[in-house]
Protein backbone atom coordinates (compact mmCIF):
# COMPACT_ATOMS: atom_id res chain seq x y z
CA UNK A 1 0.00 0.00 0.00
CA UNK A 2 2.82 2.40 0.75
CA UNK A 3 3.99 2.41 -2.83
CA UNK A 4 5.87 5.60 -3.59
CA UNK A 5 4.41 7.91 -6.18
CA UNK A 6 7.28 7.35 -8.65
CA UNK A 7 7.08 10.51 -10.66
CA UNK A 8 10.19 12.09 -12.21
CA UNK A 9 9.67 15.44 -10.46
CA UNK A 10 8.80 13.91 -7.09
CA UNK A 11 11.64 11.36 -7.21
CA UNK A 12 14.10 14.27 -7.14
CA UNK A 13 13.01 15.42 -3.68
CA UNK A 14 14.81 14.43 -0.49
CA UNK A 15 11.79 12.51 0.82
CA UNK A 16 9.79 11.53 -2.27
CA UNK A 17 7.47 9.40 -0.12
CA UNK A 18 5.93 12.60 1.29
CA UNK A 19 4.29 13.85 -1.88
CA UNK A 20 1.87 12.26 -4.34
CA UNK A 21 0.49 13.42 -7.67
CA UNK A 22 -3.16 13.75 -8.63
CA UNK A 23 -2.63 10.97 -11.21
CA UNK A 24 -1.30 8.62 -8.51
CA UNK A 25 -4.24 9.43 -6.25
CA UNK A 26 -6.77 8.94 -9.06
CA UNK A 27 -5.27 5.51 -9.79
CA UNK A 28 -5.46 4.51 -6.13
CA UNK A 29 -9.09 5.64 -5.97
CA UNK A 30 -9.85 3.75 -9.18
CA UNK A 31 -8.23 0.65 -7.66
CA UNK A 32 -10.47 0.91 -4.60
CA UNK A 33 -7.57 1.56 -2.25
CA UNK A 34 -8.85 4.84 -0.80
CA UNK A 35 -11.25 4.92 2.11
CA UNK A 36 -11.60 1.15 2.23
CA UNK A 37 -10.70 -0.78 5.39
CA UNK A 38 -6.93 -1.02 5.67
CA UNK A 39 -6.51 1.34 2.73
CA UNK A 40 -5.28 4.87 2.25
CA UNK A 41 -7.16 7.56 4.16
CA UNK A 42 -7.64 10.79 2.24
CA UNK A 43 -8.23 14.01 4.18
CA UNK A 44 -9.16 17.52 3.02
CA UNK A 45 -7.92 20.42 5.16
CA UNK A 46 -9.05 23.89 4.06
CA UNK A 47 -9.03 27.50 5.13
CA UNK A 48 -12.79 27.55 4.54
CA UNK A 49 -14.46 25.07 6.89
CA UNK A 50 -17.37 24.49 4.47
CA UNK A 51 -15.44 24.08 1.25
CA UNK A 52 -15.21 20.30 1.66
CA UNK A 53 -18.98 20.13 2.00
CA UNK A 54 -19.52 21.82 -1.38
CA UNK A 55 -17.75 18.90 -3.08
CA UNK A 56 -14.53 16.95 -2.49
CA UNK A 57 -12.39 14.17 -3.94
CA UNK A 58 -14.30 10.87 -3.75
CA UNK A 59 -13.51 9.06 -0.53
CA UNK A 60 -12.02 12.13 1.19
CA UNK A 61 -12.94 13.05 4.74
CA UNK A 62 -12.77 16.51 6.26
CA UNK A 63 -10.28 17.52 8.90
CA UNK A 64 -10.40 21.08 10.19
CA UNK A 65 -7.36 22.85 11.63
CA UNK A 66 -9.53 24.81 14.05
CA UNK A 67 -12.19 22.42 15.22
CA UNK A 68 -10.22 19.15 15.01
CA UNK A 69 -6.56 19.99 15.60
CA UNK A 70 -6.61 23.03 17.92
CA UNK A 71 -7.42 22.78 21.59
CA UNK A 72 -10.79 24.47 22.02
CA UNK A 73 -9.65 26.50 25.03
CA UNK A 74 -5.88 26.94 25.23
CA UNK A 75 -3.97 28.26 22.25
CA UNK A 76 -2.31 24.94 21.54
CA UNK A 77 -2.82 21.78 19.55
CA UNK A 78 -4.95 18.93 20.78
CA UNK A 79 -3.43 16.43 23.19
CA UNK A 80 -2.76 12.76 22.51
CA UNK A 81 -6.22 11.64 23.57
CA UNK A 82 -8.07 14.12 21.38
CA UNK A 83 -5.74 13.36 18.48
CA UNK A 84 -6.40 9.63 18.88
CA UNK A 85 -10.14 10.35 18.83
CA UNK A 86 -9.93 12.53 15.71
CA UNK A 87 -7.84 10.00 13.79
CA UNK A 88 -9.58 6.87 15.05
CA UNK A 89 -12.97 8.26 14.07
CA UNK A 90 -11.68 8.65 10.53
CA UNK A 91 -10.55 5.05 10.30
CA UNK A 92 -6.87 5.92 10.69
CA UNK A 93 -4.55 3.49 12.46
CA UNK A 94 -1.00 4.24 13.49
CA UNK A 95 0.33 2.57 10.31
CA UNK A 96 -2.26 3.98 7.88
CA UNK A 97 -1.07 5.90 4.83
CA UNK A 98 -2.71 9.32 5.07
CA UNK A 99 -2.85 11.71 2.12
CA UNK A 100 -3.85 15.32 2.85
CA UNK A 101 -4.87 18.00 0.37
CA UNK A 102 -6.54 21.38 0.64
CA UNK A 103 -7.25 24.82 -0.74
CA UNK A 104 -4.89 27.82 -0.91
CA UNK A 105 -1.88 25.93 -2.30
CA UNK A 106 -2.10 23.35 0.49
CA UNK A 107 -1.33 25.74 3.39
CA UNK A 108 -3.84 24.07 5.66
CA UNK A 109 -2.97 20.65 4.36
CA UNK A 110 0.70 21.28 5.18
CA UNK A 111 -0.37 22.61 8.57
CA UNK A 112 -2.36 19.44 9.27
CA UNK A 113 0.57 17.31 8.09
CA UNK A 114 2.85 19.21 10.46
CA UNK A 115 0.47 18.59 13.38
CA UNK A 116 0.36 14.88 12.45
CA UNK A 117 4.16 15.00 12.58
CA UNK A 118 4.08 16.41 16.14
CA UNK A 119 2.48 13.09 17.04
CA UNK A 120 4.97 11.16 14.94
CA UNK A 121 2.44 9.73 12.50
CA UNK A 122 4.81 7.96 10.16
CA UNK A 123 3.18 7.87 6.74
CA UNK A 124 1.50 11.18 5.97
CA UNK A 125 1.75 12.78 2.53
CA UNK A 126 0.58 15.84 0.64
CA UNK A 127 -1.19 15.86 -2.71
CA UNK A 128 0.94 18.05 -4.97
CA UNK A 129 -1.12 21.04 -6.12
CA UNK A 130 -3.91 20.26 -3.66
CA UNK A 131 -7.56 20.84 -4.32
CA UNK A 132 -7.02 23.44 -7.04
CA UNK A 133 -5.01 21.08 -9.25
CA UNK A 134 -7.55 18.28 -8.88
CA UNK A 135 -10.33 20.72 -9.85
CA UNK A 136 -8.31 22.25 -12.71
CA UNK A 137 -7.81 18.77 -14.16
CA UNK A 138 -11.58 18.31 -14.23
CA UNK A 139 -11.39 15.29 -11.98
CA UNK A 140 -14.40 13.99 -10.11
CA UNK A 141 -15.82 15.73 -7.04
CA UNK A 142 -18.63 14.47 -4.85
CA UNK A 143 -20.76 15.61 -1.94
CA UNK A 144 -20.96 12.05 -0.60
CA UNK A 145 -19.44 11.94 2.86
CA UNK A 146 -17.74 8.63 3.80
CA UNK A 147 -18.72 7.01 7.08
CA UNK A 148 -15.74 4.86 8.07
CA UNK A 149 -15.87 2.51 11.03
CA UNK A 150 -13.98 3.97 13.95
CA UNK A 151 -10.71 2.20 14.74
CA UNK A 152 -8.25 2.40 17.62
CA UNK A 153 -5.54 4.98 17.25
CA UNK A 154 -3.04 4.84 20.11
CA UNK A 155 -2.78 7.74 22.54
CA UNK A 156 0.62 9.15 21.63
CA UNK A 157 2.21 11.97 23.57
CA UNK A 158 2.90 14.95 21.35
CA UNK A 159 6.60 15.61 20.85
CA UNK A 160 6.92 19.30 20.03
CA UNK A 161 10.62 19.90 20.53
CA UNK A 162 12.07 18.66 17.21
CA UNK A 163 9.79 20.61 14.84
CA UNK A 164 7.96 23.25 16.90
CA UNK A 165 9.48 26.42 18.33
CA UNK A 166 7.98 28.44 21.18
CA UNK A 167 8.65 32.12 21.71
CA UNK A 168 11.43 31.38 24.22
CA UNK A 169 13.05 29.04 21.72
CA UNK A 170 13.02 31.78 19.13
CA UNK A 171 14.55 34.29 21.56
CA UNK A 172 17.34 31.77 22.19
CA UNK A 173 17.65 31.19 18.45
CA UNK A 174 18.25 34.88 17.51
CA UNK A 175 21.37 35.09 15.37
CA UNK A 176 20.68 31.76 13.69
CA UNK A 177 18.68 31.40 10.46
CA UNK A 178 15.07 32.57 10.62
CA UNK A 179 12.77 32.54 7.62
CA UNK A 180 9.84 34.95 7.53
CA UNK A 181 7.46 33.49 4.96
CA UNK A 182 4.88 36.30 5.05
CA UNK A 183 4.24 38.80 2.27
CA UNK A 184 6.77 41.63 1.81
CA UNK A 185 4.27 44.15 3.27
CA UNK A 186 3.95 42.13 6.47
CA UNK A 187 7.72 41.69 6.72
CA UNK A 188 8.33 45.41 6.44
CA UNK A 189 5.68 46.13 9.05
CA UNK A 190 3.39 48.01 6.71
CA UNK A 191 0.70 45.32 6.97
CA UNK A 192 -0.37 43.05 9.83
CA UNK A 193 -1.84 40.36 7.58
CA UNK A 194 -1.65 39.38 3.93
CA UNK A 195 -2.77 41.96 1.39
CA UNK A 196 -6.57 41.88 1.01
CA UNK A 197 -7.07 40.09 4.33
CA UNK A 198 -8.49 41.73 7.46
CA UNK A 199 -5.65 43.55 9.20
CA UNK A 200 -6.02 41.96 12.57
CA UNK A 201 -4.09 40.43 15.30
CA UNK A 202 -0.94 42.36 16.23
CA UNK A 203 -0.06 45.50 18.14
CA UNK A 204 3.19 45.96 16.27
CA UNK A 205 4.32 45.35 12.71
CA UNK A 206 7.73 44.27 11.44
CA UNK A 207 9.75 41.07 11.68
CA UNK A 208 11.90 39.07 14.07
CA UNK A 209 15.45 40.50 14.04
CA UNK A 210 17.67 38.77 11.51
CA UNK A 211 14.81 36.98 9.74
CA UNK A 212 15.12 36.66 5.99
CA UNK A 213 12.07 37.36 3.89
CA UNK A 214 11.23 34.38 1.71
CA UNK A 215 7.48 34.51 1.00
CA UNK A 216 6.05 30.96 1.02
CA UNK A 217 4.68 31.41 -2.51
CA UNK A 218 8.18 31.41 -3.96
CA UNK A 219 8.20 27.67 -3.27
CA UNK A 220 5.06 27.09 -5.33
CA UNK A 221 4.19 27.29 -9.00
CA UNK A 222 1.22 29.33 -10.22
CA UNK A 223 -1.00 26.23 -10.07
CA UNK A 224 -0.08 25.53 -6.43
CA UNK A 225 2.24 22.57 -7.10
CA UNK A 226 5.69 22.69 -5.51
CA UNK A 227 8.60 23.98 -7.53
CA UNK A 228 11.21 21.46 -8.64
CA UNK A 229 14.03 20.49 -6.32
CA UNK A 230 16.54 22.42 -8.44
CA UNK A 231 14.42 25.59 -8.23
CA UNK A 232 13.95 25.20 -4.48
CA UNK A 233 17.68 24.65 -3.96
CA UNK A 234 18.43 27.77 -5.98
CA UNK A 235 16.06 29.75 -3.78
CA UNK A 236 16.92 28.56 -0.26
CA UNK A 237 20.46 27.27 -0.63
CA UNK A 238 21.56 29.61 -3.42
CA UNK A 239 19.90 33.00 -2.85
CA UNK A 240 19.43 32.65 0.92
CA UNK A 241 22.63 30.75 1.64
CA UNK A 242 20.99 28.15 3.89
CA UNK A 243 22.47 24.69 4.19
CA UNK A 244 20.61 21.45 5.02
CA UNK A 245 22.45 21.08 8.33
CA UNK A 246 21.41 24.60 9.53
CA UNK A 247 19.03 25.02 12.40
CA UNK A 248 16.19 26.99 10.85
CA UNK A 249 13.03 28.49 12.33
CA UNK A 250 10.20 29.45 9.97
CA UNK A 251 7.26 31.63 10.93
CA UNK A 252 4.35 33.58 9.46
CA UNK A 253 1.25 34.98 11.16
CA UNK A 254 -0.25 31.90 12.83
CA UNK A 255 1.95 29.10 11.54
CA UNK A 256 0.02 27.81 8.53
CA UNK A 257 1.98 29.41 5.69
CA UNK A 258 5.20 28.53 7.50
CA UNK A 259 4.05 24.89 7.66
CA UNK A 260 4.20 25.00 3.87
CA UNK A 261 7.80 26.25 4.04
CA UNK A 262 8.62 23.78 6.83
CA UNK A 263 7.41 21.00 4.53
CA UNK A 264 9.54 22.30 1.65
CA UNK A 265 12.72 22.59 3.71
CA UNK A 266 12.24 19.34 5.63
CA UNK A 267 10.76 16.95 3.11
CA UNK A 268 11.59 18.36 -0.31
CA UNK A 269 15.11 19.62 0.45
CA UNK A 270 16.01 17.32 3.34
CA UNK A 271 16.90 19.94 5.98
CA UNK A 272 17.20 18.13 9.29
CA UNK A 273 16.58 20.81 11.90
CA UNK A 274 13.66 22.97 10.84
CA UNK A 275 11.17 24.17 13.40
CA UNK A 276 7.88 25.94 12.76
CA UNK A 277 7.18 28.83 15.15
CA UNK A 278 3.38 28.58 15.21
CA UNK A 279 2.97 31.45 17.65
CA UNK A 280 4.33 33.48 14.76
CA UNK A 281 3.50 37.15 14.32
CA UNK A 282 0.24 37.03 16.27
CA UNK A 283 2.35 36.15 19.31
CA UNK A 284 5.58 38.02 18.59
CA UNK A 285 3.87 41.22 17.42
CA UNK A 286 1.76 41.29 20.59
CA UNK A 287 4.42 40.37 23.12
CA UNK A 288 5.80 42.99 25.45
CA UNK A 289 9.48 43.83 25.01
CA UNK A 290 10.51 41.28 22.41
CA UNK A 291 12.87 42.76 19.82
CA UNK A 292 11.41 43.75 16.47
CA UNK A 293 13.09 44.90 13.31
CA UNK A 294 11.43 46.99 10.62
Amino acid sequence: MSTAASDPKIDEYAHPDRLVTTAWLAERIEAGEVGTPGGIVLLESDEDVLLYDTGHIPGAQKIDWHTDLNDPVTRDYVDGEAFARVLGSRGIRRDTTVVIYGDKSNWWAAYALWVFSLFGHEDVRLLDGGRATWVAEDRELTRDVPTPDAVDYPVVERDDAPIRAYQDDVLAHLGKPLVDVRSPGEYSGELLHMPDYPQEGAMRGGHIPGAKSVPWAKAANEDGTFRSRAELEALYQGEQGLTPSDEVVAYCRIGERSSHTWFVLTHLLGFEHVRNYDGSWTEWGNSVRVPIEK
Binding site: V49, L50, T54, H66, P198
Partner: protein
Protein backbone atom coordinates in the same frame (compact mmCIF):
# COMPACT_ATOMS: atom_id res chain seq x y z
CA UNK B 1 -28.91 34.81 34.05
CA UNK B 2 -31.14 37.09 31.99
CA UNK B 3 -30.21 37.97 28.45
CA UNK B 4 -29.50 41.68 28.52
CA UNK B 5 -28.61 41.84 24.87
CA UNK B 6 -30.58 43.94 22.40
CA UNK B 7 -33.07 41.76 20.50
CA UNK B 8 -32.60 40.58 16.92
CA UNK B 9 -35.27 41.42 14.32
CA UNK B 10 -37.76 38.51 13.95
CA UNK B 11 -36.37 36.90 10.79
CA UNK B 12 -32.82 36.94 12.11
CA UNK B 13 -34.00 35.71 15.53
CA UNK B 14 -35.70 32.78 13.82
CA UNK B 15 -32.50 31.89 11.97
CA UNK B 16 -30.55 32.12 15.22
CA UNK B 17 -33.09 29.79 16.82
CA UNK B 18 -32.73 27.31 13.93
CA UNK B 19 -28.97 27.26 14.35
CA UNK B 20 -28.95 26.95 18.10
CA UNK B 21 -31.46 24.08 18.10
CA UNK B 22 -29.20 21.73 16.09
CA UNK B 23 -25.87 19.99 16.69
CA UNK B 24 -22.52 21.46 15.64
CA UNK B 25 -22.26 19.36 12.51
CA UNK B 26 -25.85 20.16 11.51
CA UNK B 27 -25.02 23.82 12.00
CA UNK B 28 -22.44 23.51 9.27
CA UNK B 29 -24.98 21.81 7.00
CA UNK B 30 -27.44 24.62 7.70
CA UNK B 31 -24.75 27.17 6.90
CA UNK B 32 -24.09 25.31 3.65
CA UNK B 33 -27.79 25.66 2.80
CA UNK B 34 -27.55 29.40 3.31
CA UNK B 35 -24.42 29.40 1.15
CA UNK B 36 -26.17 27.51 -1.64
CA UNK B 37 -29.21 29.76 -1.28
CA UNK B 38 -27.52 33.15 -1.57
CA UNK B 39 -29.27 34.78 -4.54
CA UNK B 40 -27.08 35.97 -7.42
CA UNK B 41 -26.69 39.68 -8.05
CA UNK B 42 -29.43 41.22 -10.17
CA UNK B 43 -28.33 41.62 -13.77
CA UNK B 44 -27.91 45.38 -13.53
CA UNK B 45 -25.27 44.91 -10.81
CA UNK B 46 -23.50 41.80 -12.08
CA UNK B 47 -20.10 42.63 -13.52
CA UNK B 48 -20.24 46.14 -12.04
CA UNK B 49 -17.83 45.93 -9.12
CA UNK B 50 -17.63 49.73 -8.98
CA UNK B 51 -21.22 49.81 -7.78
CA UNK B 52 -20.45 47.51 -4.86
CA UNK B 53 -18.36 47.82 -1.72
CA UNK B 54 -15.58 45.35 -1.00
CA UNK B 55 -15.81 43.73 2.44
CA UNK B 56 -12.19 43.85 3.56
CA UNK B 57 -12.88 41.84 6.71
CA UNK B 58 -13.59 38.74 4.65
CA UNK B 59 -10.79 36.41 3.65
CA UNK B 60 -12.25 36.15 0.13
CA UNK B 61 -13.35 38.78 -2.37
CA UNK B 62 -16.82 39.68 -1.13
CA UNK B 63 -18.78 42.68 -2.38
CA UNK B 64 -22.08 44.10 -1.23
CA UNK B 65 -24.45 46.97 -1.89
CA UNK B 66 -27.56 48.20 -0.12
CA UNK B 67 -30.44 49.79 -2.02
CA UNK B 68 -33.35 51.64 -0.42
CA UNK B 69 -36.87 52.03 -1.80
CA UNK B 70 -38.05 55.62 -2.25
CA UNK B 71 -39.61 57.31 0.69
CA UNK B 72 -43.44 57.18 0.76
CA UNK B 73 -44.94 59.85 3.06
CA UNK B 74 -42.94 58.50 5.92
CA UNK B 75 -39.69 59.06 7.68
CA UNK B 76 -36.40 58.01 6.11
CA UNK B 77 -36.22 55.19 8.63
CA UNK B 78 -39.27 53.56 7.02
CA UNK B 79 -37.58 53.03 3.65
CA UNK B 80 -37.29 49.38 2.71
CA UNK B 81 -33.77 47.91 2.51
CA UNK B 82 -32.62 45.61 -0.28
CA UNK B 83 -29.34 43.79 0.14
CA UNK B 84 -27.18 42.38 -2.65
CA UNK B 85 -24.04 40.35 -1.92
CA UNK B 86 -21.55 38.65 -4.18
CA UNK B 87 -19.23 36.00 -2.74
CA UNK B 88 -17.25 33.33 -4.60
CA UNK B 89 -18.25 29.67 -4.61
CA UNK B 90 -14.79 28.81 -3.20
CA UNK B 91 -15.73 30.67 -0.02
CA UNK B 92 -18.86 28.84 1.13
CA UNK B 93 -18.53 29.92 4.76
CA UNK B 94 -18.54 33.57 3.77
CA UNK B 95 -21.37 32.92 1.33
CA UNK B 96 -23.27 31.30 4.19
CA UNK B 97 -22.80 34.40 6.36
CA UNK B 98 -24.04 36.54 3.47
CA UNK B 99 -27.01 34.20 3.01
CA UNK B 100 -27.98 34.56 6.67
CA UNK B 101 -27.78 38.34 6.53
CA UNK B 102 -29.70 38.41 3.26
CA UNK B 103 -32.53 36.29 4.57
CA UNK B 104 -32.55 38.11 7.90
CA UNK B 105 -32.29 41.71 6.73
CA UNK B 106 -33.57 42.02 3.16
CA UNK B 107 -36.96 43.74 3.16
CA UNK B 108 -36.64 45.29 6.62
CA UNK B 109 -36.94 49.04 7.10
CA UNK B 110 -33.82 51.17 7.38
CA UNK B 111 -34.56 51.80 11.07
CA UNK B 112 -34.91 48.06 11.74
CA UNK B 113 -31.59 47.29 10.06
CA UNK B 114 -29.85 50.04 12.04
CA UNK B 115 -31.29 48.58 15.26
CA UNK B 116 -29.60 45.19 14.63
CA UNK B 117 -26.99 44.79 17.38
CA UNK B 118 -23.40 44.71 16.16
CA UNK B 119 -22.75 41.45 17.99
CA UNK B 120 -25.53 39.68 16.07
CA UNK B 121 -23.04 37.43 14.21
CA UNK B 122 -22.12 35.83 17.54
CA UNK B 123 -25.68 34.73 18.24
CA UNK B 124 -25.92 31.81 15.84
CA UNK B 125 -23.80 29.39 17.81
CA UNK B 126 -21.33 29.42 14.95
CA UNK B 127 -18.23 30.40 16.92
CA UNK B 128 -17.61 26.80 17.99
CA UNK B 129 -18.65 25.34 14.64
CA UNK B 130 -16.53 27.54 12.40
CA UNK B 131 -14.17 29.17 14.96
CA UNK B 132 -14.41 32.73 16.27
CA UNK B 133 -11.73 33.98 13.84
CA UNK B 134 -13.86 33.09 10.89
CA UNK B 135 -16.81 35.08 12.23
CA UNK B 136 -15.02 38.36 11.64
CA UNK B 137 -16.14 38.38 8.04
CA UNK B 138 -19.77 38.42 9.11
CA UNK B 139 -19.13 41.21 11.60
CA UNK B 140 -17.52 43.19 8.77
CA UNK B 141 -20.46 42.58 6.44
CA UNK B 142 -23.01 43.69 9.01
CA UNK B 143 -21.02 46.81 9.84
CA UNK B 144 -20.78 47.79 6.19
CA UNK B 145 -24.47 47.08 5.56
CA UNK B 146 -25.45 49.34 8.46
CA UNK B 147 -23.07 52.05 7.38
CA UNK B 148 -24.49 52.05 3.84
CA UNK B 149 -28.07 52.15 5.15
CA UNK B 150 -27.22 55.06 7.45
CA UNK B 151 -25.56 56.95 4.62
CA UNK B 152 -28.15 56.27 1.94
CA UNK B 153 -31.13 56.98 4.21
CA UNK B 154 -29.45 60.18 5.36
CA UNK B 155 -29.63 59.00 8.98
CA UNK B 156 -26.18 60.11 10.04
Amino acid sequence: MTDERAPLPPALAEIAEDFSSVSQSDRLQLLLEFSDGLPPLPERLAGEPDKLERVDECQSPVYLVVELDDEVDGAAGDRTVHLHVQAPAEAPTTRGFAGILHEGLDGLSAAEVLAVPDDAPYRFGLAEAVSPLRLRGMVGMLGRIKRQVRLKAGLL
